[in-house]
């Protein structure tokens, strides 16, 4: 039984001449228990795909079945409840509400489910223990490192016992050590039977996936099964294929500056998955590959 089934799903933005196609009749079936890495250049529709699958966004055309139930035309509140009960989200940044402690952040979905305070604390505590942050329960997000923040986000994503975990570039702002920590955590979750979907720019991280989906221009270009622990075949080939800078950058003569600035910015968390990240991360991994 397929957990996720997308049939000719399209997502359009804008009207008339300004229409842009974020998803172009995507067909995708994901079985229970898969761990899918979604790759692709910026603007290829990865995030839109995640948002549609995660019920944050509605497809413009096409049908979406979650656990064999058609969900593409549900109302806002029904989608909210499905998100609460079936899906756990991990975003790239700004995952946690800065004014709540770690444990309160983790307990949020339970609050919306209507659990009593005692149960909420108990469950949230268990989850924090599970991601190894039991001793940081009453820390505020600003007192946590990037890796710890993402771990708290994972705990929150898990706290409702969802079938599906969606992580949109969960390691986008992390150094390689923290990245590995977070990915190992996700991998562990996958091994306990959850379905995990994650977006990444780092081909190395496809080692944690059982399947790699490569997107371009809103469509799925390659879709391959991989073994755990191996970098996907296509992923390996794109490792070197993505240009470090675009033509426009060269024309503007700012490519050198961007490399420098990009490195400096990498330390800080960014609000958005910036366009330049593609170049930056691939640049980094080029070096790693050497």
């Amino acid at each position: 039984m397929a957990l996720i089934e997308l049939k000719d799903v399209s997502k359009l933005y804008g009207f008339g001449d300004a229409t842009s196609v974020a998803l172009d009749e995507v067909n995708l079936t994901i079985e229970q228990g898969e761990c899918v890495a979604v790759m692709g250049p910026s603007g290829s529709g990865k995030s839109t795909l995640m948002n549609v699958i995660g019920l944050l966004d509605r497809p413009t055309h096409g049908d979406y079945y979650l656990s064999n139930k058609k969900v593409s035309r549900l109302g806002a509140n029904q989608r909210a409840r499905l998100r609460r009960d079936k899906i756990g989200f991990i975003f790239q940044s700004f995952n946690l509400l800065p004014r709540l402690t770690a444990i309160d952040n983790v307990a949020l979905p339970l609050l919306y489910k209507g659990l009593s305070l005692g149960k909420r604390i108990q469950k949230a505590w268990d989850m924090l223990e599970r991601v190894g942050l039991g001793d940081r329960a009453y820390y505020y997000p600003r007192q946590l490192s990037g890796g710890q923040t993402q771990s708290v986000a994972i705990a929150r994503a898990l706290v409702n016992g969802p079938q599906l975990i969606i992580a949109d570039e969960p390691t986008g702002n992390l150094d390689s050590n923290s990245s590995r920590l977070v990915m190992e955590l996700l991998s562990e979750i996958h091994k306990t039977g959850n379905t995990v979907l994650f977006v990444t720019h780092n081909p190395e991280l496809t080692r944690f996936a059982t399947r790699v989906v490569y997107m371009q221009d809103g469509a799925i270009k390659y879709d391959e099964q991989t073994k755990l622990g191996e970098v996907g075949r296509y992923a390996r080939s794109v490792m070197y294929a993505v240009p470090e800078t675009t033509e426009e950058d060269d024309l503007a003569g700012v490519s050198v500056m961007m490399t420098v600035l990009g490195k400096r910015d990498a330390a800080k968390p960014k609000k958005k998955p910036a366009r330049s990240r593609t170049k930056k991360t691939t640049a980094k991994h080029k070096k790693v590959a050497k």
Binding site: N51, A80, R81, L111, Y112
Partner: protein, 403 residues
């Protein structure tokens, strides 16, 4: 839903977590509430002061003034410059003899410096008779008013002039030198309540001396600028007024050059003033409340916009629109509630301070204490939750993108 139970505690915690934003919002509400309450309280206070002063005289008191019948100014107007001629002693007797008049007091002003412990060059001296006390209804701080059995040497002081002459609240029995005569202080009036911002002559600055003494000292006929009189019975007052008028007109050979009116009538003419004041206070309060409301609205709108991302995130992890809305309503309620109560308390404190340290006798208007905070809470809740609802209705992804 069990969420309801948690809402206020959670709201309180959320607000406490965001101290800067919360206190700023609350400041907006406090200022809004205070603006509304204070304008009403001060306005009402001033109004009451003026009304109280105008209504001091009983229903039976009436006033005779020179000049044709006209809309008179307030009863206490001192030397209005329009007086073409003054009243005479003959007029005084005419009034006195009119049937139904029980008490008559002329008011004249005389000049001359006075020396007590200190010298006052141009004191405001009013020459009158013993009946004045009976008519004016003003309590004494010390001593008593002079009466007809006195030897004509007794004077009575207003509260301020007593201080000026003797540095003493009750300089009873002290001597005053005026035109070479030794006068003795027989009494001191309590403060005449004068409304703030009024141009009326202030009896607190006045020295009251017996009419006969003044006449003797000045050696000439004293002009009377006003005669205060009182009828036997309040019910008879208007009849006595008309008969007095008739008596004076016939005494003057048919000339309509005297104006007789009940004190309450002159007061009722001032009702217009009071009505105007009421309207002004009302408009002021409404403007203050609108300004306060706009302030609350602004702060609330800003704070909700600031929290778009939070709304997006909460929705992403499963909050329904209603749950988001409830959270924001609870927060707005707690915030505006605390703000409104603080505003009321501060307003009351300000009213107290105004009463203690200024001449403005602001009063606490309980309607303002109820309406202003309720309005503030309503505005706060509306503008605190409506934008939140708008945000909640968006797709979470849009709210998340909103930085």
């Amino acid at each position: 839903m069990s969420l309801r139970h948690d809402n206020f505690r959670l709201a309180y915690r959320n607000l406490k977590a965001a101290k800067a934003r919360s206190s700023l919002t609350m400041l907006g509400i406090i200022i809004g509430v205070m603006a509304g309450v204070l304008v009403l309280c001060i306005g009402q206070g001033v109004k009451q002061q003026i009304a109280g002063q105008l209504g001091r005289y009983g229903k039976s008191v009436f006033v005779v003034r020179p000049g044709p019948p006209q809309t008179s100014t307030s009863l206490l107007s001192g030397l209005s410059g329009s007086n073409s001629s003054l009243l005479t002693e003959a007029d005084l007797h005419t009034v006195q003899k009119t049937h139904g008049v029980s008490a008559v007091a002329p008011l004249s002003t005389v000049s001359g410096s006075m020396t007590g412990d200190h010298m006052v060059n141009t004191p405001f001296i009013i020459a009158t008779t013993a009946d004045f006390e009976d008519i004016i209804h003003q309590s004494m701080a010390a001593g008593g008013f002079f009466d007809s059995s006195d030897d004509g040497k007794a004077v009575v002081l207003g509260a301020s002039i007593a201080q000026e002459l003797f540095n003493d609240n009750a300089p009873l029995g002290q001597a005053l030198l005026w035109h070479g005569q030794r006068l003795l202080v027989a009494g001191v009036f309590n403060d005449f309540v004068a409304p703030p911002f009024s141009l009326e002559s202030n009896f607190n600055d006045a020295v009251f001396i017996p009419y006969a003494t003044a006449q003797h000292a000045s050696g000439s006929v004293l002009g009377i600028y006003q005669i205060l009189a009182k009828s036997d019975k309040p019910t008879d007052a208007s009849r006595v007024v008309s008969s007095t008028d008739a008596a004076l007109v016939s005494a003057h050979g048919g000339a309509q050059d005297v104006n007789v009116a009940l004190a309450t009538d002159t007061t009722s003419q001032s009702d217009q003033t009071i009505h105007l004041l009421t309207t002004l206070v009302g408009i002021g309060a409404v403007i203050a409340l609108i300004v306060g409301g706009v302030g609350i609205m602004d702060v609330m709108l800003v704070s909700v916009t600031e929290r778009m991302y939070e709304i997006g995130l909460r929705k992403a992890i499963g909050a329904t629109n209603r749950q988001i809305l409830r959270q924001f309503i609870a927060e707005a309620f707690v915030l505006s509630g605390i703000g409104a109560v603080t505003g009321v308390v501060l307003s009351c404190a300000t009213v107290g301070l105004l009463r203690a340290f200024t001449s403005m006798q602001a009063v606490i208007v309980w309607q303002a204490l109820v309406i202003a905070p309720l309005l503030a809470i309503a505005i706060g809740m509306f503008f605190g939750s409506m934008p939140a609802l708008k945000a909640a209705r968006k797709d979470p992804i849009e709210a998340l993108r909103h930085d």
